[in-house]
Symmetry: D2
Amino acid sequence: MRKFGVIGVGHVGVTVAYTLVTKGIADELVLIDTNEKKALAEQLDLEDAQARLDTNTKIKIQDYSDLEDADVVFVTAGDIEATRTGKGGRWAEFEETKEIVKDIAPKLKNSGFHGVVIVTMNPCDAIAQYLQEQGGFDRQHCFATGTFLDTARMQRVVSEQFGVNAKNVEGYVMGEHGESQFVAWSTVRINGRQLKEFAEMNHKTLDYDDLKEQARLGGWRILEGKGYTSFGIATCAVKLAEAVISDAQLFCPVSSYNEELDTYLGQPAVVGKNGVEYVADIQITDDEKALLKDSAETIKSKFATM
Amino acid sequence: MRKFGVIGVGHVGVTVAYTLVTKGIADELVLIDTNEKKALAEQLDLEDAQARLDTNTKIKIQDYSDLEDADVVFVTAGDIEATRTGKGGRWAEFEETKEIVKDIAPKLKNSGFHGVVIVTMNPCDAIAQYLQEQGGFDRQHCFATGTFLDTARMQRVVSEQFGVNAKNVEGYVMGEHGESQFVAWSTVRINGRQLKEFAEMNHKTLDYDDLKEQARLGGWRILEGKGYTSFGIATCAVKLAEAVISDAQLFCPVSSYNEELDTYLGQPAVVGKNGVEYVADIQITDDEKALLKDSAETIKSKFATM
Amino acid sequence: MRKFGVIGVGHVGVTVAYTLVTKGIADELVLIDTNEKKALAEQLDLEDAQARLDTNTKIKIQDYSDLEDADVVFVTAGDIEATRTGKGGRWAEFEETKEIVKDIAPKLKNSGFHGVVIVTMNPCDAIAQYLQEQGGFDRQHCFATGTFLDTARMQRVVSEQFGVNAKNVEGYVMGEHGESQFVAWSTVRINGRQLKEFAEMNHKTLDYDDLKEQARLGGWRILEGKGYTSFGIATCAVKLAEAVISDAQLFCPVSSYNEELDTYLGQPAVVGKNGVEYVADIQITDDEKALLKDSAETIKSKFATM
Amino acid sequence: MRKFGVIGVGHVGVTVAYTLVTKGIADELVLIDTNEKKALAEQLDLEDAQARLDTNTKIKIQDYSDLEDADVVFVTAGDIEATRTGKGGRWAEFEETKEIVKDIAPKLKNSGFHGVVIVTMNPCDAIAQYLQEQGGFDRQHCFATGTFLDTARMQRVVSEQFGVNAKNVEGYVMGEHGESQFVAWSTVRINGRQLKEFAEMNHKTLDYDDLKEQARLGGWRILEGKGYTSFGIATCAVKLAEAVISDAQLFCPVSSYNEELDTYLGQPAVVGKNGVEYVADIQITDDEKALLKDSAETIKSKFATM
């Protein structure tokens, strides 16, 4: 029996919930929000949907004790308005999301929950670490979507240059799920070729800074147009949860703890039944290592001072 | 190749779009909205999601000519705020949705589109008819979700009384997708038994008026809690579209034209590749027939005077 | 985590296994067969498939102790050749399937397995009861597909008369999954109408005996053409397993224990996390009750004497 | 509307058909076989399954004219017994499959069919080319699964060495879908690292010849255990068909025409709505190029002399 929890039924949380229900992934689902009427409304709307689906998901709301035997809990609370309109990008949410975590973490821990936590809050890396610390969760068991989403955006942006499928583009955006992130271009490959090589073969001159900007700004363009982002991030979160549930040993960039840099940040790792099974030791250039270190410093210094 | 269009990417439209993409139902999808930035944002968000999905949907935006060879077009425009806060329930949207239809209908017709139109706008029955008339569409080819959603709500409400699965509850809510709708209780069955009988066998005394109120008010409770409804209605709309695409000859209540009552309204019909293949001649009581007639009169008189 | 076992990887067992894998239903799957090379071959073939799927299922073989924490175990062993060519239809397999059960039942019980057993062996009703008794399983927890498949065939045969979708045909085949079964015509409805009424409205004269023969012979026509049946029966079995996993409280005909008639036989019941939650008290005619009693007698007397 | 045809409903053909039906991929499906009773039995079995599925696929049999508007036709005829027991591996089927193709090709061409042909027959490369020539199909439009399956087997074998997910293993088996195939080891990567490097990091010494043997022998182990292979090959074929239907521009090894070597053989290509959109110009070593040439020579010389 697959059981999931969603704490925070905003745009991301409900899209995660809807995905779990409409694709028949969840057998049981617990929704929790500070706005009880909203949680109830989402429950009812999801139940209405089920009369027209072939699958069944039992939905409960508002009781942390129901999370005791959940396999995966998504923590998706936050205030995207702060990110959208505030100063400092995703860090504008930190004050608020820290307060949320202070409230959530002990409740989640005290429920007896011993599964895996997947975080989509912002600032993604810092808040995942904060939640891990506040809840006393094992580091493996608590990680965030991080640059898994930014990587999807990079894949899209690069694929558009060549008319290939975004799935044919490999490689990673690393570091902060925020302004200090970077594309590890040395890892980017298309149809089995290094990006640079592939571009030459196709007589394309690539403006890496521009591609990076487009990838980094991806979320902002969506934010500007719809006021929030939901489908990309929720799809990333659900894919990670499925990797946990089926112990997929999925290789992908997520925000997890880096021992050497002593912080959570986006880096390729392997996700399985224990959450982040291990961080992958991939090959990147010295310049990229420096960028990763810089991004780590950014996260750590902001975390320390905010 | 399965091709869909969505006109109006509000809460319902984007949930329809997301469902078609995340479940791999659509091979091609066209999104159209008066707010171009919103349409672009939804396209980008859905494309970000696809890097993490195993399926592929080509997404285009804003060009009616792309609808020429679409199999199904969802018309999901509207202003739920008017319904939520205005007077007269869903009719509060009519003035605005009529204007929308005046704009949409000729563009859709002139695109060369010759598929099936599924409407989720409000007031559902009147606006579906208005769209059919304005666009000069064949009546079979243009229908609305109507009481398919209300029926899902009735199924949920009744199932909760007995701890059964909502899917085990048969029967129909008929008439207006609005205040004059009614549950055709004579059609309601659980686990193969008439509802009345089933209740007696389970020593339950049912308050039909209360159940009806709960079913009728279902949407309002969701509206109050989340500001709109999306999952139930989108799931209904997608199920109808799948019935068209695979020529399922699906038997279900939708809003379609009733010859005798000379109006669109919610009634059991059979949905297939031609849209509404035929209205089902089901058995209801004389009282229910009178309620259906009353509901038809309500729709027609409001339609005529607003 | 959803875990399933399949004991007996013949045509039905492997189709069940493939369905669980290809649709991403199972997180873990245990295959057991007396032919170890066959079990290994199926494991490898299913693993080859997974490199091309987006989902993951961990597959183990041949060890009963892996079934300890399985949610559902399918028992799909048997020798369809005996049914196809032997005397007495599905009873021709009884001698052999009893031997299989004598081997399987204690091993399954001793594994510590405490989930639900779904049986597709033949003769279906007798062997399910025999397995329940031999393994000392709770009656609720051990049931067979029974007339769930025959009902699908009846739905198909009836639907073909009217050009409707088989899913629009309700009603049940009851009794033995074998020659003494019968269609409870009083329960058959199309698009909300009693079959008789629906036929009259469509100016059709139905030959019930012929329809019954076609429904009863459905499996034999398939058996003749391909040497076994697999897709229909496996799809039935998987649907029942999904009902258990998600506690769907699915209302459908299965072979389960009837207190009054003191035998397993096909009858509408409700399937949920406990297996057969309860037998549904549906309304059938006195003639149909007599047929059910006759079918029960057939099963019991053959069971007693073979 | 998605329409598929399957010519040859043996083990592979029916598994393809079942996958298209059970996953709701096909809206319409045409089955053709020289054994009409078998085709009918499969149709009935698939129709029985549909009463228990939420999706609908219209199934027709035996009429080539129904293929006129099919998007994809799978040609899955053959005699695996010849491969399993005959001399010369998959080439043992060539005499028979050539006869089959002589019969099928003109019928398929004359049906007016103008979609994409996906071949799973053996010897895979030669017979795909023979079918393309006999039917006068465009080379792009007619290709075979080829080493797509062998690559899956290589991924599995390599993944087992490291306890990673087979999906995390990249790289290609190239050349003949037969004895002269080879693993292009220079293309094999795990979790973003070259295989050699990854092995060193994990302190593993790899026996490449042994891995290659296991990969090459993969199918034979399955063949030995179950008498045929079905799930892996059918899953490969369906994935390719989905790539055509949704114009996925999927990058993967398939058997297609290589201009330089003037033969069909397994090589990475990009699959979309036109079938093989283009052969990918990947980087392999000079030794691998020589192996590819050798494999091409093997195919060509056998083709010429058998």
